[in-house]
Symmetry: D3
Subunit: 140 residues, 6 copies
């Protein structure tokens, strides 16, 4: 098995808060990430797929198709957007790194070009903070 990882960038804003919490509780739980007008990040998304290299090409994936799927289904929907208000697949979710990376997995997993399969996602919110997820591939 070979694991191939490609990195993508997007810039987005978000605010962490739970509308069911009091203001006090929101500040206690989320700290400055609860600032009412939001803040933002240069996110980096690393997508790892696994497979066997095709002996005719030495590649495990059709990169043109892969990039087209990632950009149209994920990056174009997140880049230069507000994660609380602009992204339908994040609706009604608190946009923590944890929740974003799970949501991206669920959006992307059916569209990885066969025979490769999705192995892992890493979402870096900043140089000091990242979340990783290896979800089920059952949706395939």
């Amino acid at each position: 098995m070979i694991y191939l990882t490609r990195r993508y960038d997007f810039s987005a804003s978000h605010r962490l808060y739970n509308p069911d919490f009091s203001d006090e509780k929101n500040w206690a739980v989320f700290g400055k990430c609860n600032n009412p007008n939001g803040h933002g990040h240069n996110y980096e998304l690393e997508i790892t797929v696994k497979g066997q290299p095709d002996p005719r090409t030495g590649l495990i994936i059709d990169l043109a198709e892969f990039n087209q799927q990632v950009n149209s289904r994920i990056i174009d929907l997140l880049d230069h957007k507000d994660l609380n208000r602009d992204v339908s697949f994040m609706a009604d979710q608190i946009p923590t790194s944890e929740n974003i990376v799970i949501a991206i997995w669920n959006e992307l997993v059916p569209y990885i070009p066969a025979p490769a399969t999705l192995h892992k996602l890493r979402l870096m919110e900043s140089r000091n903070n990242y979340a990783e997820y290896q979800g089920a591939s059952l949706l395939r």
Copy 2:
């Protein structure tokens, strides 16, 4: 002369638009940076001061005082904030990198601990884009 540079991070959201422009003109000028709900960045600010090392300390600046001034007057006001709505010294300005770096200069220049003086600011909006400014020190 020795030039000493210190780097600071802040995460913020912004939206580029001019309320005097039509929607069409805002999109033509600012592109996706005009997204109505904003987006965000992990900004990096490099502050360069210049001076002669004090022969008793080998330092050109009192770092504790410098950090205190930078954090209280700049970073605490920008970090985890919306640059369009939360920052009084950016009021009525379009928060481009160019305008932000000039505004930071004007806020910071009177408070650099003597005998060092402010030499240059670099504001990195992302790995691919940064603005630099060397303003007047006359305010001193």
Copy 3:
């Protein structure tokens, strides 16, 4: 399971040698890391915890408590210190990356805020060299 990683910095000095070895053997085994007066590094520590996001917060960990534990039990004891002489939990150990990362695990593992658990540590001594450890969680 979500894996969340946070990065911390500390600057420290160390010297690699075994007092039971001859000088010749110390140089043969440790090379220039055996320099008698020591040398130093900007270390980076990546701490990975795992858990399920709390559905009310989208978070797997109380970050304020986590940071407080990491800083008071690890970073404050290592930053701007000599790893051979200043760190009680490294006493009588050769401060290789391998030994430091195991010692940090043992110090930190009882204090990860539940229900998250410690998953992995990565200690980068330089851009070209890092050690990783996944120890037992039995101490919990």
Copy 4:
């Protein structure tokens, strides 16, 4: 078990194409990587070995011997070379990241200084693209 990773750099050129494909098919599969005169990269190779630290040294590997093996068997043969024409262990292979990382594994695995063993290789072709491989250690 401790995992120790060391990073190495090499600069090389390559061209992706299959001589059994038509020109049209080569362009369709490999895109601009099929440019007839080739192109190049600053590759980064991360080599991860695993083992138990020797209680007398705190090390899992004899670093001098390790560096000597990696440099003489891998880096010296790849650095400032054309991967299609200059590297005997890549002969008759399409120099994709996938194929290069497998070939490096097979060259390196017999020469890791015992008792450490080779655990993983990561080959970064650029900041946005890397391949990882964990092959068999049976050759030992």
Copy 5:
């Protein structure tokens, strides 16, 4: 004056040699960069323009036009190319960083969108090596 810098990537191969030199002299002058089949790099190009922010936009340059000029006149001609054989504006020049950065300046300087002007170019061949040039703007 504000200085705005944008970073671009391209991957290319090259070989350093002077056809008027003997083989021995080529090796003596260029070392391993003289390898007959060439080698390659992930180049980074930083382009710095200067100007006054337009008070209506806060910008010193029309970024869409700027990117279009840089990509069509420079990056598309260099990316995934052989600098010795594929680039007409490098014909009959030894593709050192020094010569490449001067050639890029001459190609780019007439096309910077007014009223901004080209200020400086930095070409990074690797993390350890870069060339900078501030040529004349007379061509404008």
Copy 6:
């Protein structure tokens, strides 16, 4: 004029203190950098030379000679050393970034291979802190 920069790494330990100060004053001025047993850094040194490319080579400097001078006169004397005790050209100086970069300039300036001349030094103590110096070239 072309400016060529090459980057070098060294790891060293140091302690900031002035023996003429009281303990209290040393802590007040130098903070945790005054820790008695010292601490350390992975320093990065960027050396910028300027010159005209030789039309026969496209180079402004003989890189083999340059590297030999930098390594033997600077890097070999600083790497894996204690800057307070092991470096003769730092004797009786407080090893701040400011003082180190001036001392390196004075050591290096007579040995830059002509016709290139030394233009600037940048010494990075960490990702967040660097000193730059452009001294006189009179020693030549």
